[in-house]
Symmetry: C2
Subunit: 274 residues, 2 copies
């Protein structure tokens, strides 16, 4: 892990920065839209977007860097189908930052987990965490691993679901059921269920199999409580011992505690405004 982080910081980042300077900005939101038409959901399946990113950058990498450094950068990007997760997460974060600070809003702007706690934040109370215990992921394990190896839900990647992709866009990625379990009908049903707890749909990110309907976007705390329906998250399963890394992938929900606590705080906030 440390060797890779050093490579990313010391070699890959400058190569990509050089290439981007020559190429100009990349419209990552548009790339995500294309990937949703190519079987990605932007959290647990990023093969298409990773491929599109490499297509977009490869010639500029070749032109702006020394041959062997260019080849190593290309190999690193292509060597992991999840490379684009490094972009879909900050993309989602940037979009949600723009939604922070709306008074009395019940929009969920952050979902994140540290392996012990699961926390959410609301648009109306930026920076204030409402937490509950991180849950176990239900999914498929890589060969040689089983449930006894798994850590509770961990990581910042649930920002993708918070933004309407990942598990919320699972209907765009029926092939992912081979990775997380279930069947193609489950993938369609999951996206449709998430419409019940979201404020709208993102017309810039459409799902062909659902007649090009937009991804269900903007988790509304009140709808979660009213429908008694938790957000669903497509995620990796980390080993409980540090250093081993990912051992599987599956589906997980946040704990109810964080929504109940947020609702109580929002109600108190509303009473204070009367």
């Amino acid at each position: 892990v440390l060797a890779r982080l050093r490579f990313m910081a010391g070699e890959l980042a400058p190569v990509i920065a050089n290439a981007l300077s020559a190429h100009g900005p990349i419209d990552v939101r548009l790339m995500m839209a294309q990937a949703l038409h190519m079987g990605d959901e932007g959290h647990n399946r990023n093969r298409a977007a990773t491929s599109l990113l490499l297509r977009e950058l490869a010639a500029a990498i070749v032109r702006t860097d020394e041959r062997e450094r260019a080849a190593r950068a290309i190999e690193f990007i292509t060597g992991n189908d999840h490379f684009f997760l490094n972009l879909s997460m900050p993309l989602a974060k940037c979009m949600l930052l723009a939604a922070e600070g709306e008074p009395l809003s019940s929009l969920v702007t952050v979902m994140a987990r540290n392996g012990t706690d699961f926390g959410i934040q609301l648009s109306s109370m930026p920076g204030r965490w409402f937490v509950g215990p991180a849950q176990m992921v239900r999914g498929l394990y890589f060969p040689g691993f089983c449930e006894n190896d798994a850590n509770p839900d961990i990581g910042d990647s649930a920002i993708t679901e918070t933004c309407g992709i990942g598990g919320f866009a699972m209907a765009a990625a029926p092939a992912i059921v081979q990775f997380v379990g279930g069947d193609a009908a489950d993938a369609l049903a999951t996206t449709q269920a998430m419409r019940r707890i979201t404020l709208g749909s993102n017309d810039a990110w459409t799902i062909p199999a659902l007649g090009f309907a937009g991804t269900p976007t903007g988790i509304d705390l009140r709808k979660v409580e009213e429908c008694n329906l938790l957000p669903i998250i497509n995620t990796g399963i980390a080993h409980k011992t540090a250093g081993i890394g990912q051992v599987g992938a599956g589906l997980v929900n946040p704990p109810w505690e964080c929504f109940h606590a947020a609702l109580a705080a929002l109600a108190a906030d509303a009473r204070g405004c009367i």
Copy 2:
């Protein structure tokens, strides 16, 4: 067109040959399988497979060629989402060549059109054409063009449908309906309809949205006649004036004449064997 053909022969082909020598063979059949999980159908939508091919070859291109030649080759490949059609067509042809020469077989091993005639061949009579008039494609036109500009159905690319991809695998590519017309349900229905006229399914090429069922493969002349159902082809629409090129994309069928003629010949062949 001529400038591009000269570039492909004189510069691109040597660059790819060098890269392939360094990289080793590419399993194009596996790449096609992955692309069917990424919204391609291998005839009229090849964005995923083109991206996967570039990913696979890019580092080797960088390492085996001069910088500017390498960059130009990468740009050419990425510059056209249909680049992989240059591989999916010969892939289909190679697979079907292996099926030629089976005595009395009613398997269709070739479908091709020259803009005037549509011809098919049977496994049992390799090299013998059964022809009828090329049909008009029903589809969507690029801005500025309409039906009056269209040439009748033309090209060798229907070898993909003959091999079970293209229109036959349309359920894998719901986004293609934005390009050829119709809706996502039509894409599913088309693939399912083609099962009625095919001999089996290709378990190496699966369609996630249909529960990972294999692509309907091997057009059986007798089933076409019994079901009164023609093969469907996803194809480009060429302008009727040479040199203008593609003006749209859509769906087309072969003419009945070629199937009726092939059936008569097969019957005569069978009588000769009694």
